[in-house]
């Protein structure tokens, strides 16, 4: 993998530490239509806000830390403008969090053709066709991983805005399930959070009121559905939607799971 590709991976990977990034003027939060631009390799995803075109992410695969948005829907973009060279003609947001808005919007339909000047100057993490052998994901629970370490008994699920469990949560849920079984868990403590997002134009988007409870109950139902019976489930909710600050909003859209076991 090229140095640029490694850099790109690090950029995407850093998105999970959004909460640690201080709020600055370089932060942007907005809702707009995504734009897909073809290249001679994989397409890249962009979005325009107040006349500036931003680079969001590349098409990769299911393992990508930042998954591309969808045409036909607006996207909530929460990111930090980096000083890196433009990609596909867009200013790079790093880190960035994307939330596909649930309602359909037929006006979001822009596909731009490839142009030589916007082709990638680095090798993308994977080509648009078959990979060279790197698997998109492996065993979510490597052998021996559920050793009874307290650090491994706390898990966080991050959500899109107004989102519930989706494909990206399957592996985290698998780790929770296997850790609970391996450690003979007696109790699963689940905390569902509700958040809000302060946009760059000053407006605030709040997740639906019941979502913290829904998130906690859904995780309980999924673990029970997967066969994790015989443990006590303790649910609580936290509403963090009162004071969105534009920097930690995305990180607050989460649920926390703590596994309690005798040893």
């Amino acid at each position: 993998m090229s140095r640029f590709a490694s850099s790109l991976f690090m950029m995407f990977g850093a998105s999970v530490s959004l909460a640690a990034t201080p709020a600055t003027d370089s932060r942007v939060s907005f809702v707009s239509c995504p734009i897909v631009r073809d290249t001679s390799s994989v397409p890249c995803w962009l979005a325009e806000y107040e006349g500036v075109l931003y680079f969001l992410t590349l098409q990769t695969d299911v393992s990508a830390p930042v998954n591309p948005p969808w045409l036909g829907h607006k996207v909530l973009v929460e990111g930090v403008v980096s000083g890196e060279a433009d990609i596909c003609g867009g200013r790079v947001l790093k880190p960035v969090t994307l939330s596909v808005m649930q309602e359909l919007d037929g006006s979001c339909n822009t596909m731009l053709p490839a142009e030589d000047r916007y082709n990638l100057t680095f090798e993308p993490p994977r080509p648009p066709g078959p990979s060279r052998g790197r698997l998109a994901f492996g065993n979510p629970m490597p052998a021996g991983a559920p050793a009874a370490e307290s650090a491994a008994r706390n898990f966080t699920l991050q959500y899109e805005y107004d989102g519930m469990v989706a494909f990206r949560h399957a592996q985290t849920l698998q780790r929770i399930l296997e850790t609970a079984r391996a450690s003979h868990a007696t109790e699963i403590r689940i905390t569902g959070f509700r958040s809000a997002s302060r946009l760059s134009n000053g407006s605030v988007m709040r997740e639906r009121k019941s979502i913290a409870q829904e998130r906690a109950e859904q995780i309980r139902a999924l673990l029970q559905g997967a066969g994790l019976d015989g443990v006590r489930y303790a649910l609580q909710v936290k509403d963090l939607s009162k004071r969105p600050n534009g920097s930690e909003d995305a990180a607050r859209r989460r649920a926390e799971v703590e596994i309690v076991s005798p040893n």
Binding site: S63, W70, L71, G72, P128, R132, A170, L177
Partner: protein, 535 residues
């Protein structure tokens, strides 16, 4: 002890049916309701006329050879029994164990790659004047109330090779309780009359949805039921719990049936006996195990391509021929250049001309594999594909979805909606004053309820010929999603797609071309068809 279904209901043992004497076998919660309707439908255990050479009669006691070749339009398909010849006399897969005279083999014919082609169905109708048990009213007719002697009553079977699948509505959870569906289901077109019928329809005493589907091949099931890559306790496409083997508790690959409603070969066999054979009772462990053992050792693949010749010759492509299929690795992702979905090697890439055209065809098959693996196009608005991290649209290839090594089905839990049953992409008859043909499939109006998000690509109200997985899950975004089919033995078992909407390999390729605006050249299309014909 003979357990009667109604007794199970009366004593309130829940709608979970337990069968077997040694190991209790749980069956999905919808089966008891299906059994009630199956027993309600008349049976037609009529006499069977002598069969055509390739037709396998239930109970005729022949031995199925270790390697049995059957001719088809593109050459020959091979049926390989890895455990050696199968004595079918007394074998529960081959004996008519239900009350309508069918056996499993009725709809899983060796000559048709262990499915059944519409060509074979039509021939069987002609040979028996429609009296073969294949045409049993329960599901071999558009609806059981129709007159059985009239071929119009069997139109979907005779025209598209479709059998009626009847499922309770609302859906049932594994414990038999009702699932509250995320959408309402309204019948807007009911050409068969079954969905609105007072005895068999949605408003009957045993509310049931009827949809019409092709039989899936009973072969290569070691691959289909693998426990390898992508099979976890939570479904990789939506994070929800995977169904589990009721005996072992292990998660299922959920790729057996087009709606993934049965987790294992055993539970599938139980349901099939109830619904397709009108078997009313208890399949004991011994018979179940014999069925499963047979199904796990049988392999199917094309073994001769009519122009390219022998697909099993020594040193030939490692992904072709039934022997290679029988020894391949299961549970492996092939959407990469280290494994390939169908590994062909380089032997057929550049060959000298041959007078019989053999080498040109071999090169075409090899190019077809390249089209399959490397020809990119934009995949858009496909539920459970564009929604699983790739973006909408995504620039990918056939192998993105058809990624299972050697099989070409999804290696993970494989249901998605590419538009084979959901409008606007599903095949419908053109309505105009000059067309007398009428669509025979039902049409349902789907309205996603206000308390769930709309379908990501179809909105809150849309139409479908078959809600697919959603008839089991009750999920709005599962409507029209169908579990991907394996690609082996295609030449032996037209038509294609779960609703038989592609009559030929050409129509199959053309569907994708239209759906995703691929723009295949004539050469690409021909190469791809030749590749598919050799699988």
């Amino acid at each position: 002890m003979h357990i009667r279904w109604h007794v199970v209901a009366i004593v309130g043992l829940s709608a979970v049916l337990r069968i077997g004497t040694c190991h209790a076998q749980e069956v999905a919660g919808h089966v008891p309701e299906q059994n009630r309707q199956a027993q309600q439908a008349p049976s037609s255990a009529g006499s069977s006329e002598p069969s055509a050479t390739a037709w396998w009669l239930p109970g005729d006691g022949k031995t199925l050879a270790a390697l049995a070749p059957y001719r088809n339009a593109f050459g020959s398909v091979g049926v390989l029994n890895a455990q050696g010849p199968v004595v079918t006399a007394g074998h529960p897969f081959f004996e008519p164990i239900g009350r309508n005279g069918r056996a499993c083999v009725s709809c899983h014919q060796p000559a048709n790659g262990m499915s059944v082609s519409v060509e074979m169905i039509r021939r069987r109708w002609d040979e028996t004047q429609g009296k073969d048990p294949l045409f049993a009213p329960v599901d071999g007719m558009d609806c059981p109330y129709l007159p059985p002697a009239d071929p119009e009553s069997h139109s979907l079977l005779l025209e598209r090779g479709l059998f009626r699948i009847f499922l309770p509505w609302p859906p049932k959870a594994a414990d038999g309780t009702d699932i509250d569906p995320e959408f309402t289901l309204e019948v807007v077109r009911d050409p068969t009359g079954c969905n609105t019928h007072p005895e068999y329809g949605l408003r009957s005493a045993n509310p049931m949805v009827s949809v019409y589907r092709r039989p899936r091949p009973v072969a290569n099931l070691r691959y289909v039921t693998h426990q390898g890559f992508g099979v976890f306790s939570f479904i990789g496409k939506n994070g929800l719990p995977a169904s589990r083997d009721p005996e072992t508790g292990l998660p299922s690959a959920m790729n057996l049936l087009s709606d993934a409603r049965q987790p294992t070969l055993k539970t599938q066999a139980v349901e099939a006996a109830v619904t397709h054979l009108q078997f009313d009772g208890k399949l004991d462990d011994e018979r179940l195990q014999r069925i499963v053992d047979f199904e796990r050792q049988i392999y199917v693949a094309q073994i001769r391509q009519s122009v390219a010749g022998d697909l099993m010759e020594p040193g030939g492509p490692p992904g072709l021929g039934v022997r290679n299929v029988s020894t391949g690795r299961d549970g492996l992702l092939g959407n990469n250049i280290t494994n390939y979905v169908v590994p062909l090697g380089d032997e057929w890439k550049h060959l000298p001309d041959s007078a019989d055209g053999r080498n040109r065809m071999r090169e075409s098959i090899s190019r077809g594999q390249d089209v399959f693996m490397f020809r990119t196009f934009w995949i858009r608005d496909a539920m459970h594909l564009n929604t699983v991290g790739l973006g909408n649209p995504t620039k990918r290839t056939c192998a993105t979805c058809h990624g299972m090594h050697m099989m070409g089905m999804d290696v993970a839990n494989g249901w998605m909606d590419i538009g084979t049953t959901n409008l606007p992409w599903a095949r419908e008859e053109p309505l105009n004053p000059w067309n007398a043909r009428k669509t025979k499939l039902p049409l349902f109006k789907i309205t996603c309820k206000a308390n769930v998000p709309p379908h990501p690509f179809l909105g809150r109200v849309f139409y479908t010929q078959d809600p697919g997985r959603a008839l089991i899950s009750g999920k709005c975004n599962d409507v029209g999603t169908i579990v991907m089919q394996q690609m082996r033995g295609l030449s032996a078992r037209a038509p294609y797609f779960s609703n038989g909407s592609a009559g030929t390999l050409r129509e199959l390729v053309d569907f994708y071309d239209r759906r995703f605006n691929i723009g295949y050249t004539d050469q690409e299309r021909e190469d791809l068809i030749n590749f598919l014909s050799a699988l």
